[in-house]
Symmetry: C3
Subunit: 214 residues, 3 copies
């Protein structure tokens, strides 16, 4: 289930957004591999795991196997293409820091909405659908960090809000679904809101709260 089929809009714009999300997530994984001085295998593995890992985890937990990442024709090639781009042109990508972060925020918005809607569609409980929407959006990044032997970025207090807007977006999607108002408009509005909060968090340095007194 792509963003297109979830939103009911079967246009090319949505398909482009979907693949753009995968592409930039893959770029973020591949760039971390370059910074860690991994070889081409590490670059390609992190590209695939970062971009497709969250959705794969969701599909495994829903029981929709093989996962969309292995069924949809364009997903794996898109992740691989990002790996190749970084392998050859990481110096250029490094300078495109800002656009990559913007697309990454867009991917966060898209993925939490798609993941939550897909989970509701599969008949999961609302609370579980919120969890799976959040996993779709941030699970790939956690897998990336574990494979690269980093503390997961989403756990670190010095990183800008990521999982919280994703969870809020997933919750809003589930709420809209339960209220029977979920559709293209709701999906786009929620995804844009998550995108905006993520950009604002990066700009103003908003982090998640710590345990009391820490």
């Amino acid at each position: 289930m792509t963003f297109a089929s979830v939103t009911g809009l079967n246009g090319t714009l949505e398909q482009v957004l979907d693949l753009a999300g995968i592409f930039v997530f893959a770029v973020s994984g591949a760039m971390l591999a370059v910074r860690k001085d991994f070889d081409a295998v590490g670059i390609v593995v992190l590209a695939i795991a970062t971009s497709l890992g969250g959705g794969i985890l969701r599909d495994v937990l829903i029981g929709e196997l093989p996962p969309a990442a292995l069924r949809e024709q364009a997903y794996l090639p898109t992740a691989l293409a990002a790996g190749v781009v970084v392998l050859v042109g990481h110096a250029v990508v490094e300078r495109l820091d800002r656009p990559v972060l913007v697309f990454d925020a867009a991917g966060l918005g898209l993925f939490c909405v798609v993941g939550a809607a897909k989970s509701m569609d599969a008949g999961l409980r609302p609370a579980s659908a919120v969890l799976l929407g959040t996993i779709t959006a941030v699970g790939g990044g956690i897998i990336r960090d574990v494979l690269a032997r980093d503390v997961p970025a989403v756990f670190r207090p010095d990183t800008a809000l990521t999982a919280i807007p994703a969870a809020a977006g997933a919750a809003a999607t589930v709420g809209a679904w339960e209220a029977d108002v979920y559709g293209p408009v709701a999906a786009v509005v929620i995804a844009l809101a998550v995108f905006a909060v993520r950009l604002l968090a990066m700009h103003y340095g908003w982090g998640a709260p710590m345990a009391r007194g820490r």
Copy 2:
């Protein structure tokens, strides 16, 4: 399949034990996150992964999807509640060190019996059911440690016996099942024996053996 349904006792005591096991496992994950100075996201993720990860891994491997953790109404909220308690009151929880360890040992006993019985019920081979019972009991803790970038506690020679009593409890459950004497009494006796061995191991500092000559 809860402890209640496995044992055939449908009372509230068993349900309380089941959720108590999840709660204390979640507390152990959340407390590790606090000690590592993770933010609220890290605390909640480790609470969920530690308490539900072992059972989710078991259900994925059995092919019973979505896993019980996403189907049972009270599981996810219980794990989340533990996360919130630690977020707000970790200083108090720190002082409750001893009761937390006792409940943690109780969770170990419950989870290995439930996991092994559920696996036999699903038609797995005895050896596989022993493995899955053990994974149910210690898998969440391994996932917790990997996410927190620690050496898994169950691999470290300076930690008290954990996986070995769990594996023995799972084996005893499978043995009772094969001998057709598995029922509420057997389940409770085995869970209590694992609980007792774990407490004794912590008290007397019994660790798992090392490779010969190390």
Copy 3:
């Protein structure tokens, strides 16, 4: 699906090769655990995870659950036996460095062919089958390194080619399948070619390429 059933040869030679692959992968996991001073639990867990993890990951993604590792009678005991051998005789195994590496290379060849063929048989896309064949061959090693808190060996530029010959072998298997020439001869030829490239890579120190300019 064992190598025997994939190749159509139901002889004992193939079964021996299949279990030999599991055994040496398990030995490599267990030996890493010894070097890290893990206890017996760590040794056994790493033996199982390294030898059966890649195939389990493949079967989960295909949706063939429970995975072959839990269905086939001899797989889990073979991995456990390797753990026990290392637990008792790691000093001897250390001196058998060279034969272990040779068998490890043989396992790589076998596993990428079996994994790719099994994935095609399950109806996956060719690109997905190449990925799953590669995961079958190197996934267990990645899980081993993550559990032992090492950078995955296949990501490190100072290690000899592993994932690339495995991916090439998986691709050749998929190509043969698509061309309708897959059978015992093709399977054996491809597995031997991967085996040979892996041995040559270790002998001559061939590593995977790095990102341009690194």
